[in-house]
Symmetry: C2
Subunit: 381 residues, 2 copies
């Protein structure tokens, strides 16, 4: 048996064809449907990018107007969903709530539509809209505050901040939040997206697929790196302590969070964008400490690694946590915000999987007992 070889974690194994996302790791490039992420983030809203992911093409003004109206109109959550959030045990993690809510939301689609939803999850788009409302509402309830009715005149990102804080964000805050969602909207196969596709391959609903993907994203090997980056920043505390802290950390062979990426061999293109946001937002808010600490860690760490001939660059998580904190988002919501952003990508993969489906059913390599006899219970020891 030991001679049979297989790829653990399916590493390097092609699981399906896809036209959604291209990652050019060597050159640090990321494309959604062929469009460079930099151009999308500079020229398009998150809603526009959601349209792109679901339909494969960027919308015209007319298409976007209709689509945006639909998404914005879907933002409010019903009384039973609000009750579910209110009753959700305080000790539990928001990701558990999100997973439960998405399955639950499914029930609120009319039966006729629900049937179509097997074929076309574009019409179940309210999941994308409502995830933001659910996350904001959970935070408000846990802070002893009331539900904030979403606004239709704000972008997806700006409205999220509005619901979270109960006040309209600055233009810069709203833009940065919306762009951060775009930057996280899609990233080809990973454990959560693959989960969405496996569930979709059984012809389950797209709610069930997205709910399952949220469960995967919750895992500590998947989401959550930007939380740990901020733990690191808090531990460092101030710019003057970076050099000593990093030397000690490297001597102890500690992992420097937010550095390096399985795919990117150059600086993560999303990190470059988010770094710029951190600088601008810090300047607007008069809080430049995070930016300074992170840039110093990046520079020093790169120097140290280049000495060893192993250059390592920041990934998107390195700067995003600090941006979120400056936007007033608590660390416990970082992974839920990731889920809000990734929902369109997951839906795109569900649609693609269905368009040329084969149920995922890999093989196990059996390594257990061949055969044994059941001994009566009184004779067991």
């Amino acid at each position: 048996m030991a001679s049979v070889e297989y790829a653990k974690g399916l590493e390097g194994v092609i699981a399906a064809e896809s036209s959604i996302c291209r990652i050019d790791g060597e050159n640090g490039k990321l494309y959604y449907m062929g469009y460079p992420i930099r151009q999308l983030v500079e020229q398009c809203s998150f809603e526009e990018v959601t349209y792109l992911l679901l339909y494969g093409e960027l919308p015209t003004i007319e298409q976007l107007t209709i689509f945006q109206r639909k998404m914005r109109h879907s933002r409010p959550i019903s009384a039973p969903i609000q009750a579910m959030i209110r009753d959700f045990p305080r000790d539990s993690h928001p990701m558990e709530l999100l997973q439960a809510v998405v399955s639950y939301l499914s029930g609120y689609v009319e039966h006729k539509i629900q049937h179509d939803a097997y074929c076309n999850c574009r019409i179940t788009l309210h999941q994308v809209s409502q995830l933001a409302t659910v996350v904001a509402t959970l935070h408000r309830f846990r802070s002893g505050k009331d539900y904030v009715e979403p606004r239709e005149d704000l972008s997806h990102g700006a409205n999220f901040l509005y619901m979270l804080h109960g006040r309209e964000p600055s233009e810069l805050e709203g833009t940065i939040m919306d762009d951060c969602l775009t930057l996280h909207a899609e990233h080809s196969f990973n454990a959560s997206t693959f989960t969405a596709r496996v569930v979709a391959s059984t012809l389950s609903t797209c709610y069930c697929s997205i709910s399952a993907a949220i469960g995967a994203l919750y895992g500590s090997l998947h989401g959550g790196a930007n939380e740990k980056v901020m733990d690191m920043v808090d531990e460092v505390g101030e710019l003057s302590r970076v050099d000593a802290w990093l030397s000690a950390a490297l001597d102890q062979k500690r992992k420097i969070m937010g550095m390096g990426h399985r795919v990117y061999k150059a600086k993560d293109p999303r990190a470059i964008v988010v770094e710029g946001y951190l600088e601008r937002l810090g300047a607007e808010k008069g809080e430049t400490r995070y930016y300074e600490i992170l840039k110093r860690i990046e520079t020093l760490f790169r120097e140290r690694m280049e000495e060893k001939g192993k250059p390592i660059y920041p990934n998107v998580d390195f700067f995003s946590g600090a941006v979120y904190r400056l936007l007033g988002i608590p660390s416990s919501l970082f992974t839920p915000v990731f889920a809000i952003a990734r929902a369109p990508g997951w839906l795109a993969h569900v649609l693609e999987q269905r368009s040329d489906n084969r149920i995922f059913r890999p093989k196990a390599l059996y390594v257990g007992h061949q055969q044994r006899e059941v001994v009566p219970i009184e004779q067991r020891s």
Copy 2:
């Protein structure tokens, strides 16, 4: 790109090692942890088999006593879960509720335990216990009836029927229900079990893993075949019509539900057991019609296929739907009952995945646009 080959649906690809289940399809044999399914079903309760799947060995009397007490003590569901079931939209499918409830249940584990739950989902066993209560309660609420408090003196299967109907089942009914759960407790990798492992591979909680697996089982390519068998039986109506019905169906090249299995090239060993139950239960209840119709379809179909040199045998779904109907379980609960039964198998795979983990992250074969430029929205057409 077209020249790159890969296995669609990961067919034939080894995804992981496993010691849990061995299927000898050629000879129609199924083993859990090395024990033949026939011996397990004849000598062990579902709770005993659950212990086997979670600990790898059959329990001693003392171990089973403690384990059983714990499982039975966990059967009742709390008021918020009852409220969630009551408020669940009537149009939605029970599988959507189950998926939501499992995520939600997670929140009711104390935080300390929840942390351990990442490492050891044996202690989150109340999921297995409570799924049966949730399914029974949903059915009662939808029928305008009250919640039935579970009983600790009944087996898992018998208690499920008790909660569902509000009256104690006969000894035969209770035994058959419990054994049917055992027969469905595990079946190596398939889309739902693989989903549970993919989610577990991110180090997400076992609740999130099981919830995701439920989402996959909901898909029409996965669960639900025994519902369709009963649709067929209802269409046939009576024994005297089988021959004409089958001839017409074969002429129309219709698929005969519950026949054939991807893995078994002989009669599914579970089908043999369930067939016996159907005969005995039919005799007890004075309703032998289902058994007679199904046996006649089996015989005729086998003859027709053997003429073509393609023998095809019944799988477990061929007889299980009729057994469930005689137990008073409505068709809409067949797949939820499958989930109740499979939960220990899923948990076993979650534990095994964690014991030697690598996150599942296969590759996509990119076949989309290489690069294109974002055109300003007013210039798009």
